[in-house]
Symmetry: C2
Subunit: 355 residues, 2 copies
DNA sequence: CTGAAAGCGCTTACAG
DNA sequence: CTGAAAGCGCTTACAG
């Protein structure tokens, strides 16, 4: 509990070497180009050596104040306890640190008031830009911010024409449909997620469209809204399984909703993969490890996070950018193949817990 | 894409009102006590009105530079994609914002090199203090930091005598044992987690001690190390279920490990709650929603996060503090009660997903 | 190649 | 009750 670790300043180095602080600054923190002409080779070396010895780290508050650039970005997500967003954030953190950016991340619970409030906090903290993982389809807040010149990108969900990095959810929905069509399912249903999120909307649309194209249009009552979590999936599945003509297969737009649906199926005495086929979305690490492994459409979550940072970095550099849409793949498992089917494949995005 | 939203400064307000910037500062940002004697009532009011109108927000970099206090705290966790840590972080964020603190959070994957590296980054960012959710039992890094005068607290896991907020994991392990003893299980096993984390160690110790006290000591081969995730739990369970004398009940020190164990049980043709009892830990929202609901020891995750911030705030205020240990409760469900048993109870900590 | 000066936006004794 | 000054630790033209 002794030395409160008083940080080393440029001045300390300059004084010790009998140089001016500006010279030291140029050598240590100057732009790559400047740095060469910052001082004689010998002087530069003495500066660098001493800096290393003393453990010099520039004071970011001073730098930010002077340069009007904080190298801070704000990340807003519905909730970090959603594995999907947590994984996306891991990608964001990785890439941010490569770009020399630090991140603030905050939960908004998908509530407009909180989104607005937390955005203000971030701006008050003088972030250079924002990444929204909680964009609402109406884009009200986002349009306002853009009009004010706030720089941001979206991840996971798109809205309006704001730059975004998403999974091609529509295509993902089609993949799920394709797979179930292949397995001969004609009476199918969708647990569709929340209507303010492009993810659920697009996945549902892709699925419904593909079935329509196959000549098997889905009646409206077999597309049910739901929250994205397990409890939401369970409720939606109850509704579907209580219907007179029970579906033989369900597509849930989220793995957690799918797990909830699996619970409901069990309550109805249905065996997954035998009496009821089930497809989830995102291929979270849990999907493969469930008692009855879950067929799921894999989305590149971590990669989305990384690319969102890259995109934002380009926005901050004043470049004009284009949205990106990453390709999903379907991973077939027992929940659609029956107890015999193994059929795992692919690998890509890692995951796992530790606590 | 127009006005880059140039923030309002004290100077802008002062000039517009014909006052000195120091007067404005005292009124707007002065300590609660000072603020009263900062200016005449009338002047103060004019200042406040204009500040509101212009949307003044103090530049935190300037404030930090001047006061040598950043109001920033760093949070290190093994991984945010671990629901337990993500939930703890939600509590941290809530409390931090109440204390006027902003948080940086980063994943260390429980790797010592990363822990060290990320700690340095945080310190370079000039955080006022740190919360470690990834403390290793050996406390090597933590001892060093404490010696340097770095201020921090631990959450979820304790180490050495550093201030911490944890669940009473030992007691939690005893609860699990008690419950299985009540149900008549004598041949039991533990999926014990990783040996560097106090959580797994204490939960295991409590369980083992309680069984020993009941006159039923556990042989060593029925306590198996594991990672904290689903795949780890599955592997550990395979080992246990392949043993000649198969256990009738398993205590997994983590819900995710328990879910993995449930998968292994199924592969062995065992029905959960009938042929094999299973108890998890943390009572994550998933536990209640699984096809076969999981008995689990509930730990107050969000509350731990909140209290860790309160504790750190006291440390930063120079107060002497004591570690806190919060009480766990057991929630019994079908995985130990058989398919008949419902027996849910309690409510406390919320949760849920959204993506 | 190096130094001196100004200034980013704040806070805080110190005067008056 | 209010103002003037100094300074937190940097960066960046501008001289020389």
């Amino acid at each position: 509990m002794a030395n409160r670790r008083r940080p080393v300043t440029l001045r300390a180095i300059a004084d010790q070497l009998g140089l001016d602080v500006s010279t030291v600054s140029r050598v240590l923190n100057g732009a790559a180009g400047d740095r060469a002409r910052a001082a004689s080779g010998a002087t530069a070396q003495r500066i660098r050596d001493l800096a290393t010895e003393l453990g010099y780290r520039p004071n970011p508050h001073a730098t930010s104040l002077r340069t009007q650039r904080s190298n801070l970005i704000g990340v807003l997500v519905p909730r970090l306890s959603d594995l999907v967003l947590a994984t996306i954030y891991e990608g964001i953190e990785e890439a941010a640190s490569q770009h020399g950016l630090s991140t603030f991340v905050t939960n908004t619970r998908d509530e407009p008031d909180k989104q607005r409030d937390r955005t203000e906090m971030m701006l008050a903290r003088r972030v250079d830009g924002l990444i929204f993982g909680d964009a609402h389809a109406d884009a009200v807040l986002l349009d306002e911010l853009a009009a004010q010149g706030v720089r941001f990108v979206l991840v996971s969900r798109w809205a309006g024409s704001h730059p975004s990095v998403t999974c091609d959810d529509y295509q993902g929905g089609r993949l799920a449909a394709e797979h179930l069509l292949d397995r001969g399912h004609e009476r199918v249903a969708v647990i569709a997620g929340e209507p303010h999120a492009s993810t659920g909307l697009d996945r549902t649309a892709g699925f419904v469209d593909r079935y329509r194209e196959a000549g098997v249009p889905l009646p409206e009552h077999r597309v049910v809204r739901s929250r994205f979590d397990t409890a939401g999936g369970r409720q939606a599945a109850e509704l579907l399984l209580d219907q007179a003509e029970r579906p033989s297969a369900i597509f849930a737009v989220n793995d957690f909703a799918a797990i909830g649906a699996a619970g409901a199926a069990r309550d109805h005495g249905l065996r997954l993969g035998e009496d009821l086929a089930l497809v989830g979305f995102n291929d979270t690490p849990l999907a493969a490890e469930l008692p009855i492994p879950l067929t799921s459409v894999r989305s590149p979550m971590r990669e989305m996070g990384r690319r969102a940072v890259d995109l934002l970095a380009r926005v901050l550099a004043g470049q004009r950018v284009e949205s990106e849409r990453l390709t999903p793949t379907l991973v077939a498992r027992a929940s659609t193949l029956g107890s015999t089917g193994a059929g795992d494949s692919h690998d890509d995005d890692g995951g796992g817990n530790a606590g």
